[in-house]
Amino acid sequence: MARWALAPLALIAGLAIAACGSSSGSSESGGSKEASSGTIPVTFVADQTGLVSYVGEKVIAGMKLAVEEINSSGELGKRKIVLSIANSNSDTATATTQMAAAVKSNAVAVFGPALSAEALATAPLAQRAKVVDIGTLSEDTGFLPIGNYIYRLTCSQLRYDPLIVEHVAKLGLKSTKIVYASDNPTLSEETTEHMVPELEKAGVKVQGTVGVPSTTTEFSSLATKLESGNPESIGLMVVGAANPDLITALRHSGYKGVIWGEQSATAGALVPAGELANGFFYAVDYTESLPYESSKKFTELFKQKHPKEIPYGYDANGYDAMKAFAKAVSLEGSGPVTRESVLKGMQKEAASGGFEGASGKTIFVGPEHRDIAVPGVLVEWKDGAEHIVKLGTPGLEQQQ
């Protein structure tokens, strides 16, 4: 083998191993827990380690917060939720194994992993075992149609992104250019199918869209390209470090217009850009200063538990998934909780107007009301924190 042939090989090996991330982590699957009438066993197949462990950890934290609150408040009477966490290692095969064990256990409901590949692979197991599977994945293509036991307790960003369009129009910005992560199907589709037509409809001229692979590490040429034609605003539909990097590159190359984005900019992603990110706005399902009672309650609990951290969407999603589950249980009376009763409870909850969670009043939407809609909120980043610009209403997109 020639020497150069080693390089691609090595790369593949390198990337594969790097992608696998850390150790395979221990799972704490609660397979054979005794389900006495006093306990409500549930299992969360979580991305505790691996590629999206940063999501998994936060969702787990939010979920645990809700379990503590529910168990100590007595809102389920004497019954206590017992949460087992099974580590999927952000890996579809592991997730499937863990889900198979979870549905065989006495868990009355399961919470699925965040990556869509994992969610799609694991949901059929829950559906077949007739156990409610509550997903916290961001997009639902193909997930909810898997069956009537499948719920998704994270609101699609499509439901609150209209807030962005509305704000761009309200600021009187006449033109925009959008850069999007070309290898991210969600963001690509969101950009071309939703943002562009809606901005145009709102009277904002879209001068062009620019796709970039998320492996990009050089942004100056992109910034020059985006600036040409002097658009009054530039939209970033990108993930990870690309948000602060693009803001930095645009500002350093002298761009003076407005820069806006979408929810990937949350959770401190803009911190590296420092002051340059001031004025950047985007829409999210949850932000620290949401004024709703149920949101304040979550924020307060979170701050007590993690005084040094700022709560963001993923924490809220975990919390809300558990809150929705608890409400479903309580709607089914004080008897023993079974898989069937959980389903009935979820259906009742969906029909009766949803629940109040960290994101505010959350309603169930979609064909069989197994998806949710939150009010959403438009925030502006300023000096290291999100500031509320405008509150949304649940189901906003249905009114458009």
């Binding site: 090595a10 090996a13 790097a18 990870g240 470090a241 930095t248 002298g254």
Partner: protein, 297 residues
């Protein structure tokens, strides 16, 4: 147009700084150090740690972080690569083991950094280095950090090229690359030269890491992987082990990628590097600046 040319030159300089160390280690010691990207990010992380409370100014930070990156690579050499070389006299076997070790090291360094930064992108505060933009007429301009990157790349490239050609250390390195056994018989302490080389390679990655941490808005562990990918293209296009080849192909790839972003479908920019690799392998597999090197049976 002019602005994009400036962008390309700056990007080429970044790539030069990043890939010279990799090229040096691969060309002379057969170490395909896949931890190079991680070491690069590690230096950015050190920069962030040293400056986040505005405790250290730019120049000392640059020195400390580069040395730290050099030290990490040196440690890898002493702990792993050297032992592997002694343990497997057969080149190919040693190469493969070193590859695997460097992947492991990359993972460990990456995990440490991402744990320390809670997996978020990080960047030194604006106070660490205040960026100014100088207008060159119209909308064309260049920032001070961009100038610094270009100047650093030129200095490093010339110094390394001349150092390898003209100094005793350079001769020792070239001899070592060709035939380690004979080189040792000629009185060269090959262990020391290898250690110095790996330290230098790491420090160069560090230098690039510090400047990039300031230049980019934010660095994350994946940034290093992405640069590594492009650096491989550079090494193959330039010819393995050729310092001049690496420099020329770094600017070439930067120019090509910038052109694609500026005038073509920008999502294909990664494709450019791989297209160049492919064309190179078909047309001139030894690279632009092939270094005759001796291949053992």
């Amino acid at each position: 147009m002019l602005q994009q040319l400036i962008n390309a030159i700056v990007f080429g300089s970044v790539l030069t700084l990043f890939s010279l160390g990799l090229s040096l280690a691969w060309g002379t010691l057969d170490v395909l150090n896949l931890a190079h990207g991680a070491v690069f990010v590690f230096a950015g992380f050190i920069t962030y740690e040293l400056t986040k409370d505005s405790t250290m100014s730019f120049v000392p930070t640059l020195i400390v972080a580069s040395l730290a990156a050099g030290a990490v690579t040196l440690a890898l050499e002493l702990v792993a690569f050297r032992r592997i070389r002694l343990h497997f006299p057969a080149r190919r076997q040693a190469e493969l083991s070193m590859l695997v070790v460097s992947v492991g090291a990359a993972t460990v360094i990456g995990e440490v950094v991402s744990h320390q930064t809670s997996e978020a992108a990080f960047s030194p505060p604006a106070s660490a280095f205040s960026i100014h933009r100088y207008s060159l007429g119209g909308s064309v301009g260049i920032t001070n950090i961009q100038i610094l990157i270009v100047v650093a790349a030129i200095i490093v490239a010339v110094a390394l090229d001349q150092g390898i050609r003209r100094t005793r250390y350079g001769r020792a390195i070239r001899a070592l690359a060709y035939d380690p056994t004979t080189t040792q018989l000629l009185g060269v302490n090959v262990g020391a030269v290898a250690a110095a080389t790996m330290f230098l390679a790491g420090a160069l990655a560090g230098l690039a890491g510090v400047m990039l941490a300031i230049y980019l808005g934010g660095e994350e562990v994946a940034t290093g992987q992405d640069y590594l990918l492009t650096a491989f293209a550079i090494l193959i296009v330039g010819g393995v082990g050729s310092i001049r080849g690496a420099i020329v192909s770094a600017y070439l790839i930067a120019l090509a990628e910038t052109a694609v972003v500026a005038y073509g479908p920008s999502q294909w920019r990664d494709g450019v590097a791989f297209l160049l690799i492919l064309v190179m392998l078909l047309v001139r597999p030894q690279g632009l600046f092939a270094r005759r090197r001796f291949q053992r049976a």
